[in-house]
């Protein structure tokens, strides 16, 4: 029986692109036949979604240490399935495959580990996990061996119900128990709180074309926002009023106890803070003393501290960026799904840092202070790079590079040669020639954890998406999906070990007995 629903290429020859012209069509496999041998040598190239799922289930071994090929395929599939089938389709397909409960169970646990809280709110998944759980519980009496799986599933199900996350990713399983344990604790805590309070970046317009970007929680009240603005802008809170512009011409004065965000976490309208007499707080073209104070505040900050704060901020967002967000962002750019929240925050942040650099420099009226500011920003950029936060690094360099700032030749002339040299070195990293070769090479050399320049990652995925077909004659082009999965997995590699250091630092193992320490010392290097 030859099926044309799934195609393979010989792995050995697949590195040679010319041999790809001749697809090899393989027979469909019966359960537990020769397929495991085949899977080591062949790479799935295309197939219908049902067949690929079937193949995955066929090939799935219940061992902990599976072949890497198999793991990659499973990973590819679970990461990219939204491209060719909906989550409810996947649940349906798995439901139909339930006669192979154990394998389905195994696949689901991988899926849950991979997608973590990403699937939490999906009703189809919720229902399916419930069904699966019931099935396995039914069998528990006859097959006590299932207990481990049932516990796993219940844990998942609990996880599901309690709206918290855990760390079950397969890569982490092998690590030392101590690490795993503490990692889990930390992961739970930071992610949990992040999710519960639902943060948002909120734009509060101070003038027609300038805004404060504030990190706030979604249940924010108007008075809290006013207080924060008053503190930041150094204006008495009593003088201020918060207005939401709901549509052109429509204005809504928010009362102190009003919520700033609607239920969908979107602000009610464009938010403006003005004086109660409707006058503007700040005029960027007149208010001189105010502006000097602003520059002085910025200049008083330590550049390393600023870089640390910027990087910590980015990490809290980047940590919760999920691989699949990149896929949703590229494939459904225009539909406003909630699936890309963290990614969009980080992109927005990249733009804002760029605008911040420009704003600070251009609001500084005195030449020598402007020189100081630019020097500060160059240093901050260098520190961001040292802290391996390339997203922020790019934003700062691009901000300094915009025409409005780079045309200030009198200012740049006064920058010391040492700084000019540093700047041009940093600028070289952002050079887009040869498809950002300079950046790609230096980023590759950096150790994880690190934050990539995200817009480039999105561009790569866009190009893979637009440059390759998703379907070949109704078969899913798995080569394309593999390329996409590879690109998004990059996120995982960058995030790797981020919590590790903290987990290690949080639980220091020490010997508190001076005698023992001395004995150890002598054992290492005996007294002469």
């Amino acid at each position: 029986v030859v099926s044309k629903q799934i195609r393979y290429f010989d792995d050995e020859s697949s590195s040679d692109s010319t041999s790809r012209a001749e697809p090899v069509t393989m027979p469909t496999f019966d359960e537990d036949s020769a397929d495991s041998i085949v899977s080591d040598r062949y790479v799935v190239v295309s197939g219908t979604s049902e067949k690929i799922l079937e193949h995955l289930l066929n090939d799935l071994t219940l061992d902990e240490d599976q072949g890497t090929t198999q793991n990659t395929l499973l990973d590819d599939f679970l990461l990219t399935y939204p491209v060719f089938m909906s989550t409810s389709d996947l649940c349906q397909a798995l439901r139909e495959a339930l006669e192979r409960k154990r394998k389905v169970l195994h696949l689901v646990s991988h899926w849950m580990a991979l997608c973590k809280d990403f699937l939490r709110e999906d009703e189809h998944v919720k229902l399916f996990v419930k069904t699966l759980c019931r099935y396995v519980l039914d069998d528990l009496y006859e097959h006590p061996a299932l207990e481990k799986d049932v516990r796993e599933l219940q844990k998942l199900y609990q996880l599901h119900r309690r709206h918290t996350t855990g760390e079950f990713s397969p890569q982490r399983k092998s690590r030392a128990l101590f690490h795993q344990f503490s990692l889990k604790e930390n992961g739970l805590q930071s992610r949990g709180t992040h999710r519960e309070t639902k943060e948002a970046l909120c734009h509060v317009y101070i003038t027609m074309n300038s805004y404060l970007c504030m990190r706030v929680h979604a249940r924010l009240l108007a008075q809290e926002l006013l207080q924060a603005v008053a503190e930041r802008m150094d204006v008495p809170q009593g003088d201020l009023a918060l207005v939401a512009v709901t549509y052109p011409g429509g204005r809504l004065l928010l009362q102190p106890k009003d919520r700033v965000f609607s239920d969908s976490s979107r602000p009610i309208g464009r938010l403006h803070v003005c004086r109660k007499d409707l006058g503007e707080i700040l005029n960027p073209f007149i208010d001189n003393s105010e502006l000097q104070q602003r520059t002085a505040r910025m200049l008083s900050l330590n550049t390393w501290d600023v870089a640390v704060a910027l990087t910590n901020f980015d990490w809290t967002i980047f940590d919760s960026v999920h691989e699949q967000e990149l896929i949703y962002f590229t494939f459904s750019r225009h539909s406003s799904s909630n699936h890309t929240a963290a990614l969009e925050l980080l992109l927005q942040r990249c733009n804002e840092v760029q605008l911040w650099v420009m704003t600070e420099v251009l609001l500084c009226p005195t030449l020598c202070k402007r020189v100081q500011l630019i020097k500060k920003f160059i240093k901050i950029a260098a520190h961001c790079k040292a802290q391996r936060n390339l997203n922020c690094f790019f934003a700062i360099i691009m901000g300094l590079n915009t025409a409005a700032v780079s045309r200030l030749s009198q200012t740049w002339e006064k920058i010391p040669g040492k700084f000019k040299k540093l700047f041009s070195e940093l600028e070289t990293v952002t050079d887009p020639s040869l498809n950002h070769k300079a950046y790609r090479e230096s980023f590759k050399k950096m150790k994880a954890p690190k934050i990539p320049f995200l817009p480039l990652l999105l561009k790569d995925i866009t190009f893979i998406h637009e440059g390759n077909k998703t379907f070949h004659d109704n078969l899913v082009n798995f080569e394309k999906l593999h390329m996409i999965a590879d690109t998004v997995r990059f996120i995982r590699q960058c995030q790797k070990d981020h919590m590790e250091v903290r987990a290690y630092i949080d639980y220091l193992h020490v010997i508190d007995n001076q005698q023992t320490l001395f004995e150890l010392s002598h054992r290492l290097e005996p007294r002469a």
């Binding site: 692109s17 750019r333 992109l347 927005q348 990249c350 733009n351 760029q354 605008l355 790019f394 691009m398 590079n401 915009t402 025409a403 780079s406 045309r407 600028e427 070289t428 952002t430 050079d431 887009p432 020639s433 040869l434 498809n435 950002h436 070769k437 300079a438 790609r440 995200l454 817009p455 480039l456 999105l458 561009k459 790569d460 866009t462 190009f463 893979i464 637009e466 440059g467 390759n468 080569e479 390329m483």
Partner: protein, 198 residues
């Protein structure tokens, strides 16, 4: 990175969503290969003929996040020719080119000798917001060339790059490396109605 002296750099600018990547991809894929692997730098390069010799055409597609087109001083200062893309379905996208043009002007100083092409992409779309004559008028004001393209239907894409090369008066360039460059006259006829060079 060693500077390659015989590189000819074309820089593509445009707001998010105007189809920059599709346009570049159309050109790159049309002339290169079937499977596109974006991290390979070579896919952005093509050998072209230049002054009876060969040089490499390098396309720089500037990358920013979608809401805010990042413009890099470096790409402008190193660029030889520029493509400014807007979508005919969005007046806003044409507006967003204005600061970019200003930027090129500010960094290059005098743009008269520099090949710049204003491109109205998505000419296949029916929801037009920018009329052809509006694009022409803008190009006139900027003293640059103008063309409407469709990356989707592959309309005028190769022509765009060839025409851009023709604009460079300092060099004599062609996408064809066999040296048999069709005469300017016949090409102008072929492009009639598709392109206007100011």
């Amino acid at each position: 990175m060693p500077e390659q002296s015989n590189d000819y750099r074309v820089v593509v600018f445009g707001a998010g969503g105007v189809g920059k990547s599709s346009l570049v991809l159309r050109f790159v894929k049309g002339t290169f290969r079937d499977t596109y692997i974006p991290t390979v730098e070579d896919t952005y390069r093509q050998v072209i003929s230049c002054d009876k010799s060969v040089c490499t055409l390098q396309i720089t597609d500037t990358t920013g996040s979608h809401q805010f087109p990042a413009m890099q001083r470096l790409s402008i200062s190193k660029g030889h020719a520029f493509i400014l893309v807007y979508s005919i379905t969005s007046k806003q996208s044409l507006e967003e080119l204005k600061p970019i043009y200003q930027q090129v002007l500010a960094i290059k100083g005098n743009v008269e000798a520099i090949p710049i092409m204003l491109v109205g992409n998505k000419s296949d779309e029916t929801q037009r917001e920018v009329e052809t004559k509006d694009g022409e008028a803008q190009a006139n004001q900027w003293k640059c060339a103008f063309m409407e393209t469709s990356a989707k239907t592959n309309h005028n894409v190769t022509e765009l790059f060839q025409e851009l090369l023709n604009l460079d008066k300092k060099r004599n360039m062609s996408l064809n490396i066999d040296g048999k460059r069709s005469g300017k006259q016949s090409r102008a006829e072929r492009l009639k109605g598709k392109c206007s060079v100011m």
